[in-house]
């Protein structure tokens, strides 16, 4: 049997996009709790929880050459303990199996959000910038922890090529994450007088980047930037939105109430992202891998409108 690439979280939008790009080239084994409707026939799929024993069987029975780990969940409405256990325990298990079954390459999906938006941020954060997100935003604590688990693994196992990708805000058709949902609002709130520079990357470009990371040149932590940076106001102008400026001192308590009573789906700390900078320097990735996004800025912005 050919060596396989295990893809966790394959049933998500990013996972499906990646699977469609990769399945002709590599033998893919997908793991996800959710079903994968429209799965290409040549992909083996295991519908199970990463924390369960059965996940280990996948590694035991197959020659796994690489793992692409995207089985990370972001759901602000989910029970915090379950959320944390799924992400952190799930990642720990996957890394254990990689070490135990001689996987040569591990690619971890993290996020540029781990640096956290802040008024103190430099305009372009490099990979060695401290991960400050959790200090203001406990909901992304998981994300930071997962990133650090992978980083520890990178040092502990020099024989395994570990790649941690920290892409900027992922957007795309049908993507249901906070940035895409926000850009889809007909009358989005903005914080009056704040117009931070924002970086977006198309979901297909993100999938391409994850696949590029399989190449031997990729090793270590990389920020992954899409077609560049634009002010938030330019994005809304492009999408033809009517923005509602809300004074920042009012917005926070108001959103807290609305979130509590299920009138809004955005957790209040997300407001930091439309108030302060959290932009990254993707030059290391661009240089090492010769990376160029395939979608222009305009196409990336408009992708949230597609079905």
């Amino acid at each position: 049997m050919r060596p396989a690439v295990v893809v966790t979280g394959i049933s998500g939008n990013l996972g499906r996009s990646l699977a469609k790009l990769l399945h002709k080239r590599e033998r893919i084994i997908g793991i996800d709790r959710r079903p994968f409707p429209g799965k290409p026939k040549d992909i083996e799929m295991y519908q199970l929880d990463l924390r369960k024993r059965k996940a280990e069987d996948v590694f035991r029975r197959n020659d796994v050459q690489a793992v692409i780990h995207m089985g990370i969940m972001h759901d602000p409405r989910m029970n915090e303990e379950e959320h944390h256990s799924f992400n952190v325990v799930g990642t720990t298990r996957i890394l254990e199996y990689c070490a135990r079954y001689g996987v040569k390459k591990v690619i971890m999906l993290s996020s540029a959000n781990v640096y956290g938006p802040s008024p103190d941020n430099s305009n372009f954060l490099t990979e060695d910038a401290p991960l400050m997100a959790a200090s203001r935003f406990s909901e992304v604590r998981d994300l930071t922890e997962v990133d650090m688990l992978a980083y520890g693994f990178f040092w502990k196992h020099p024989d395994i090529q570990t790649v941690i990708l920290r892409p900027v805000h992922i957007v795309g058709p049908n993507i249901k994450n906070a940035p895409s949902n926000y850009l889809r609002l007909k009358y989005p709130w903005v914080l009056a007088g704040f117009d931070p520079i924002v970086q977006l990357i198309h979901v297909d470009d993100t999938a391409r980047a994850m696949i590029e990371a399989l190449r031997p040149e990729a090793k270590g932590v990389y920020n992954v930037v899409g077609p560049g940076e634009v002010p938030l106001s330019a994005i809304f102008r492009e999408l033809g939105r009517t923005v509602i400026p809300v004074p920042h001192l009012v917005a926070r308590p108001l959103l807290e109430l609305m979130f509590k009573y299920h009138l809004a789906s955005f957790p209040p700390p997300e407001l930091d992202h439309i108030q302060f900078l959290c932009a990254v320097d993707g030059s290391r990735w661009a240089k090492d891998l010769g990376w160029k996004p395939s979608y222009s800025m305009r196409e990336t912005i408009r992708s949230v409108l597609d079905e």
Binding site: D120, S122, F124, A192, G193, F194, I197, E229, A234, M297
Partner: protein, 284 residues
């Protein structure tokens, strides 16, 4: 401030800018435009069209209110450079006037960046205005990046200590930070000392109300005869000194850097002294 300037207003302001500095300026400035994307902003958020509109009132202040005179502006070399200036006047108009000088009087024109306080980023309207006109949070990382891109950066090593000082301390340089020297050494960048005369008298501050400032989260809060620090029409004189190139290790001990910083500080102080002697009257 100018964040949501309507397109029409922006156009009018750009027309005003052109009428004050000559219509060839836009063409000249276009040559120095940074790497802009299809949305007209560079990666740092600088928007040339917006800047040419927003700068109009400052050009008016420059020409007709403060009637700025510059001396030896041609000493500023091409390529990467740090302009190190004294800082005063409660409102950072001295910075704005140096920016206008470099944009309208230098040949070719230069859009200089200045390093602003992190505090600015927390202020609505001001934060977005600053970014669109090319001003950036003063982190070493930002500064390094811009110098490597051969840009001109304006720094005020006194920071708010200089800006918010009260009347009795006028024209006396406050403590200099060392950060600019580290960056100059690291990026082998010439330093051009700059002395601004006239900004001190624009808004004499009787006292810095520290307790109230702290309550409001401001770095300082001046109490001036006009209550608000409204600038008086003093005449500005901006002196540019000979470029100073330092050599040495950027990670040297503070004591070593202190010596080099002291040279820059002494140069600026003596330029201030000369400027004050040459000046006949505060308002003319």
């Amino acid at each position: 401030m100018f964040e949501q300037l309507g397109d029409e207003l922006q156009k009018k302001l750009r027309g005003w800018t052109a009428s004050m500095v000559g219509s060839d300026m836009e063409a000249r400035v276009q040559q120095i435009a940074h790497l802009e994307n299809e949305f007209g902003v560079d990666p740092f958020g600088f928007d040339l069209k917006y800047a040419l509109a927003a700068i109009a009132p400052f050009i008016w202040l420059y020409k007709h209110y403060f009637r700025v005179q510059t001396f030896n502006l041609d000493r500023v070399p091409a390529g990467r450079v740090l302009l190190v200036s004294n800082h005063s006047g409660q409102l950072p108009l001295d910075g704005a006037m140096i920016v206008v000088a470099m944009l309208t009087e230098a040949n070719p024109p230069r859009a200089i960046r200045s390093m602003v306080e992190k505090w600015i980023q927390t202020l609505p309207y001001v934060s977005s205005f600053m970014a669109r006109v090319g001003q950036i949070v003063g982190t070493p990382e930002n500064c390094r990046r811009l110098l490597e891109a051969e840009e001109a950066i304006l720094v005020f090593p006194e920071g708010v200590r200089g800006l918010g000082k009260a009347w009795p301390q006028r024209y006396r340089l406050q403590d200099f930070g060392l950060g600019f020297m580290r960056l100059a050494l690291e990026a082998r960048t010439p330093i051009v000392p700059v002395a601004v005369i006239g900004a001190e008298e624009q808004a004499p501050s009787l006292v810095n109300v520290k307790l109230l400032a702290k309550l409001l989260g401001f770095p300082y809060l001046p109490l001036t005869p006009t209550i608000l620090p409204l600038p008086l029409p003093t005449r500005y004189r901006i002196y540019f000194g000979e470029p100073m190139l330092f050599t040495g290790r950027a990670d040297d001990e503070d004591a070593e850097l202190d010596k080099k910083v002291a040279q820059v500080k002494a140069t600026i102080q003596s330029m201030i002294q000369t400027g004050l002697q040459e000046r006949k009257h505060v308002f003319s």
